[in-house]
């Protein structure tokens, strides 16, 4: 399922399958994402949305098929190049995945530190992204002392701290109240407007309707044409 020309594609998936023994989570996925695009992956729980994102950030390998990220074939990537490839992504999880023993600042700093940036640049970058998500006054707080919405904002700050080409968000509003969810979506839309490619996996069709953007549908691991949707 593609949108626009293939030369401008940042992500390309060709006949991708993901199997766990006899059980198949994804069937014959063909999917393109253009640069600076905002794409929603929609579908019910268990449709394969999270699995699809995992294949992109190399959380799991595809059982079959090819995935190209900015022209690089993931199946041909050597193990030591995986960290470098992952730095192309900013990943946001439904359960935030912040390190509870590190402060907000340390959680966000992890990304530029892992990329080998100098301490001066790390400080500058962390302050800038925390300001962008409105969390600069909580930089010394520990994640568990923050609300869900605040933790997700920190997770977004961490996701964008490495200036990634692609932001992947897996049910980013799934654990949040309506107000916090709206704030998070505004932040993600803001990053998209400023030039980031954003892919959001969500089952919340109302959220998609409010935000707007291309939507692909997954059902029982298969990508659906809009006409087949019920």
């Amino acid at each position: 399922m593609s949108n626009g020309n293939s030369e401008n594609s940042l992500i390309r998936m060709f006949h991708v399958y993901r199997r766990y023994g006899k059980y198949s989570a994804l069937f014959d996925i063909n999917f393109d994402v253009q640069k600076n695009e905002l794409v929603f992956i929609n579908g019910p729980s268990g449709a394969g949305k999270t699995t699809l994102l995992k294949l992109l950030y190399l959380g799991e390998p595809a059982s079959e098929g090819q995935i190209l990220i900015d022209g690089i074939n993931l199946s041909r990537l050597s193990k030591n190049k995986i960290p470098l490839m992952r730095r192309n992504f900013g990943i946001i999880f439904q359960e935030f995945k912040l390190i509870p023993t590190k402060t907000v600042f340390e959680n966000v700093a992890l990304v530029p530190e892992a990329a080998g940036k100098s301490w001066r640049l790390v400080q500058k970058k962390v302050s800038s992204v925390l300001r962008a998500v409105g969390m600069e006054d909580k930089q010394n707080a520990f994640p568990l002392t923050l609300s869900g919405g605040e933790q997700q904002r920190v997770a977004i700050a961490r996701a964008v701290a490495g200036d990634p080409k692609i932001i992947l968000a897996d049910e980013p509003t799934g654990s949040l109240d309506a107000e916090s969810a709206g704030m998070i979506m505004e932040l993600l839309k803001g990053f998209h407007t400023r030039g980031s490619t954003v892919i959001i996996a969500t089952h919340d069709t109302e959220l998609i309707r409010k935000t707007g953007g291309r939507t692909v549908y997954l059902k029982q691991g298969r990508m659906q044409q809009p006409s087949t949707l019920q």
């Binding site: 959380g59 960290p83 023993t101 992890l110 301490w119 490495g162």
Partner: protein, 294 residues
Amino acid sequence: MIPLYFKHAFRDIFKNRLLNASSVITIAFSVVITSSFILFLVNTTDMLNLWKKEIKIMVYLHPEVPGEIIPEIQKKISGMYGVQDVRFISKGEAIEILKEQMKRQSSLLENLKENPLPDAFEIRMIPSSRPWEKIESLAAQIDAIPQVEEIEYGQKWLTRFSYIIKMFKLTGFALGILFFIASVFIVANTVRLVLYTRREEIEIMRLVGASDGFIKVPFYIECIIQGALGGIIGLTILYLVFVSVLSNVEQGVTSGFINVKFFSFGIMSLILLCSMFTGWLGCFLSLKQFLKTA
């Protein structure tokens, strides 16, 4: 990047201080036990070497050896490798020396019908030839001279003493290996426990693009610091015990007779390096296994 790794390592040591303390104590304990043996060996070996330096080889000739061939035998021995000087002690001179040493029992010697002592040579060796093997080899060469009846250089008790030291060396070596393995095992398990408690953190670090090196280096620094701390604590304990034992023993030992000393700076550095290596190895084994399966 390196200061950052140290920052992470020190922070993690503090956070997991109880677990890390167990590794440090184990390494310190191993250092105390193993180093005690090394200390004993260093001092006894020095003592043995000092005694060996004083060694003279006494060569006793057959009673029927004619006097005219004695200079020839003396020349032969003088020409042997490692011999510094050879002094001939005639049986007459020997009995005079004996009389001098046994003044109170001189009547016993005066009643003798004939001198029972043999002609002899007293041999001093050049300093570089004093290692035990060389003394033994020289003694064997002299013993091969047909006119020589007996050779004496304190071989019986020195051999026994050398044997005891050799046994101590073996025991020390075996204990060293045993404690080294135990320390590596405990450090490895401590690191494994820390890794399991930080499993999620490591997973997150990987997801944000951290390389294995970025994850591993602070652990290595942490374990090397543990090893160094264990080594320093172990050596300090050993030094304190050494000083306290020595102060008690010295009262009963004539000063200067036995020169007991603690480790040199070089040996202490070597022990410290070994304990740091122990920490590193424990960490290496755990990380290798964990990062493969994680």
